[in-house]
Symmetry: C2
Subunit: 596 residues, 2 copies
């Protein structure tokens, strides 16, 4: 039988005591991290969320307590009363905040016992992730997860503090909302009181926060869960957390300034390095040209370079034909990489194939020649022009992509990031922020044969481009902006459409007729017609931000109870089947699931 | 065409300027609350969330701007630049913080126009609630809703500040969880990646917060949405907000002390009166005896009084038979109410009938007699005993309930609250808190013929009652506690079971066999066996708390986007039908809905 807590209460956490406390009577409570028996004395590393303190059971000091301590095993939960003593000469542990002292125990309560854990509770544990997720309550005891979750708490608190100080109101928006089958897929929630009808879980509080601006709340924020029923990639979760904001009577500069203040506050609280706004700015077009991606990692160079004009008339038909057909040819000079083997180069070819590149041409720059299957196709003039534009020096390895712009940019942009990591070009302690601006308003969806909003249909077009709405939708820029950190998009937002007529024209450009937009967005249009102020906002992906701040590669390391890529919680075994009674009340039937 | 904001930026909110600012150049932005034309001059009350400032368009000062101002209508969105001037003698408005000044406008932008609102934007608006809910974006402009939502923000911020200072960690728990068909009905979310399987939206983060304690996080909190798919009563919403907490290595006293600190912080921020812990305590039994309810309104007396012993042998067979059959007879002395008419008394009879009382006996105490159909059945001795116990004085009106204890207590307890309001016994500015303790662990469910947990199955039994688990479940007390404020339960919690064997025995007492509890709660039992500390917690109903703090009768007045009693959002028309494609992906079919 376990001991009960009774009236015993902690006096200190397990990271609190030092030499200055010598002689103090203390009560500590926590978990057994490690037990050692040495010379008949039992030493326990007692752990809580704050740290570790060594507690000692010495038969010469208290024989009964020492006797009781024999039962102690790993992860048992203890309460100990004792006196703080300096550790003997040579026994101090400078790696531990409490390493100068130990607690000589005079009273021991074994509050709970524990089965041997399924894996060691330490960071370098070599166990597959599913095992850890199935016993998440034990996994969460590991120091790195403890630290990440506590850091997340501090980051959220810093964000709230900043936003409260800036006059933002934390206003809750509903989770049971209306499905708007635009953008990503909704999670549906069947309504029992309205059988056959469904709520949707929000992909973001977008329309509600706009309505709050229309209501006059002026500055809104929320740290809030959002939901997208997508096929889950490595770094996606079915539910994710946004720091969501909206402001009235503002333009892009105002939102960027507040965002920079917010990010600075959070990084000051938990970051590894200082952050100094204002952040760099770059247009979407420049980002695509120089980095191939709209989320450039600006911690290193290795920029892409367009050589379409140089090779347009070359004898290398793959290049010249590509240019003729409206494609582009871009190159990437991996300085000093001429030593890469053929095998390594083939691996890069495989790498870009993932991004639909059908090949990866390359030139190895030697002291006296260009080593490459394609050198022979170029004239001396073309070679000189290339060498000059790409700064080709002996020892360099140049990669080429030739295809439609989308494929070239994506594949070389990804290759650039890949090489940046591989070549050690990245300062892992640096935080490089850049605002991406002047996004296109629409993109043409070849599959659905219609225009789609690059951000969302409520994003305002650039004022000067408004007249292009009918004539040249793809040429329009929007008032959207993304914040990119170290090559990850951590936030995105826009100035919104606040005028009903503009909103109607944008919805029409997206292919909706009046009946459709009135049915889906009638309430928004009516609200825009009721005195809507100019407004805009932004949302930050809190999980991704924490992933970067915690210096981890997986989003699951910054979420207390994450799901697998199949959307399962391995601990509680969710999702699970519903009872017939539950389905009956909802008026639903599960159809036979086809096995494919 | 509307004016664009351009580079114009606000210098002040609409509640900021006073006589000290006279002569300042300012820029204000907001909505047109009211327009008056007087002597050729146009006066606008410009409103934002902070307040109202009078802005003036005077043709003698700026003819062009005055001309433009003619177009202004109610709820238009304006930006004005101008100079602060003292209002002329006799024109100041002491009811307004800015009532000493006005802004003489030199530049006007009409940022947006507005249709005439469907109802006036003022508090005393006489329009039915559904109309207001359908245009919630306009409804939210009313001063009381603006104030309530801002007060809610401040209350949440105060709660977080206090809990952060106390070492609590804000940790997010999942919304897509496993259904545990205990207690209330779950909202289900079909899983597309696992067709035929369902998540459930959490009724509370109960098990996750316990797991966090087992993981060693020590102090957890969250202000979080929870979901219950119940038939909605007036003051229920399908989703509601809890301030949810859990602590390790604690007993009841610790949680009550932290709770009192939390509540005091919130009330200090937004309350109408000071709150001074420690709060009163009362056992469940005492609350039932004196008030008939486990959430007694202790702002007034009018207590119930048991007279079963006095009437057990009386000639009034309704009373004596009730006592013989194990029922009770209780009375309520409405002092000074002998003047109530027969019609009024009949209304009270109807009132208690709602709570299943089959009648309401009464005695009017006159100077020289008891006026009542039942007086004749009592002996002199019985009458004397009653008069003494109930302090029956001329002018009093005594009500009697006779039935099974549950019915008597509920109906007379509700009648007591009803009379308290009707008789004006309640100080509407008082905050009367009381902790209710020593709840029964189980209650017997006559319908299902089994025991049910009065709180939830994870509530610890009182240590001294543990041995009654097999022999006398109904006689057991639990370690649960509720916090009651002015007759509303605003919070409830308990010390939890932290030992696996106790948890198993409680689940067995609830009628589960091993297969069932392993399937439903296997992960919890395994976690309790992995080093679970003693722990406990509490959750406060934030919506109800705000209802009291905002002094409003409806929960919908403290929620930005509430739903109707049918669970509908009248603005967005949620819930709505799903598309065939959506249902197909989920492997679901909507069955024909029976019209009943």
């Amino acid at each position: 039988m376990n001991d009960t807590l009774g009236d015993m209460r902690r006096s200190h956490h397990c990271n609190a005591l030092g030499a200055a406390d010598t002689g103090a009577q203390v009560v500590l409570m926590g978990w057994v991290q490690r037990r050692r028996d040495h010379g008949g004395v039992i030493f326990i590393d007692l752990r809580d969320r704050e740290g570790i303190t060594q507690v000692v059971f010495n038969p010469d000091r208290n024989a009964a307590v020492h006797e009781k301590a024999h039962a102690i095993r790993s992860e048992y939960v203890l309460a100990v009363r004792g006196v703080v003593e300096k550790r003997p000469e040579g026994m101090t542990n400078p790696a531990l905040a409490t390493g100068e002292i130990e607690v000589m125990v005079s009273e021991l309560k074994i509050l709970n016992r524990a089965q041997t854990p399924p894996f060691m509770i330490e960071d370098q544990v070599d166990v597959n992730e599913n095992t850890r997720l199935a016993s998440r309550h034990i996994d969460l005891r590991r120091p790195s997860l403890q630290s990440n979750i506590m850091m997340r708490h501090r980051a959220a608190a810093a964000a709230r503090r900043y936003l409260n100080d800036q006059g933002f109101l934390d206003i809750e928006t509903p989770f049971l909302t209306r499905s708007t089958p635009e953008g990503a897929r909704d999670y549906l929630v069947p309504s029992r009181l309205n059988p056959g009808s469904f709520y949707a879980l929000p992909q973001s509080p977008q329309l509600f926060k706009q309505l709050l601006m229309i209501s006059g709340f002026d500055r809104y924020y929320q740290i809030v869960h959002c939901f997208r029923d997508e096929d889950l990639r490595a770094d996606r979760q079915p539910e994710f957390t946004q720091i969501d904001m909206e402001m009235s009577f503002v333009g892009e500069e105002d939102i960027m300034a507040v965002s920079e203040g917010l990010i600075s506050s959070v990084f000051q609280e938990v970051g590894r390095a200082a952050v100094s706004p204002p952040f760099a700015r770059m247009t979407y077009q420049e980002a695509m040209e120089r980095y191939g991606l709209d989320r450039p990692d600006t911690r290193f160079g290795l920029e892409l370079c367009d050589i379409s004009d140089i090779v347009a008339a070359s004898g290398f038909h793959l290049f010249s034909n590509t240019v003729k057909k409206g494609g582009i040819v871009k190159a990437l000079n991996a300085k000093g990489c001429a030593g890469f083997t053929r095998k390594q180069i083939d691996d890069f070819t495989d790498f870009v194939a993932v991004y639909r590149a059908r090949g990866l041409a390359w030139i190895r720059v030697k002291e006296d020649e260009w080593q490459s299957p394609i050198t022979k196709f170029f004239s001396e003039e073309e070679k000189q022009a290339m060498a000059a534009r790409l700064d080709m020096q002996p020892g360099d390895l140049v990669f080429f992509g030739a295809d439609q712009p989308g494929i070239v940019n994506e594949s070389l942009g990804q290759l650039r990031n890949h090489l940046g990591k591989k070549l050690g070009l990245i300062d892992e302690n640096a935080y490089e922020f850049v605002w991406i601006t002047d996004f296109p308003m629409f993109e043409y969806d070849e599959t659905e044969k219609r225009y789609q909003a690059l951000h969302h249909p409520f994003t305002a077009p650039a004022e000067k481009d408004l007249e292009k709405l009918a004539s040249d939708p793809v040429g329009m820029r929007s008032r959207a902006y993304d914040l990119v950190l170290n090559g990850s998009e951590i936030g995105g937002g826009s100035i919104r459409i606040h005028q009903k007529d503009v909103q109607v024209r944008v919805l029409e450009a997206l292919g909706m007729d009046r009946a459709e937009y009135e049915e889906k967005f009638g309430f928004l249009l009516s609200a825009l017609d009721s005195g809507a102020p100019p407004h805009g906002g932004i949302a930050f992906g809190f999980d991704r931000l924490m992933t970067i701040l915690c210096n981890t590669s997986s989003i699951r390391e910054v979420i207390a109870f994450p799901k697998t890529q199949k959307g399962a919680c391995l601990m509680t075994a969710a999702p699970a089947s519903a009872t017939a009674a539950q389905l009956g009340e909802l008026g639903l039937k599960v159809r036979r699931v086809e096995q494919s």
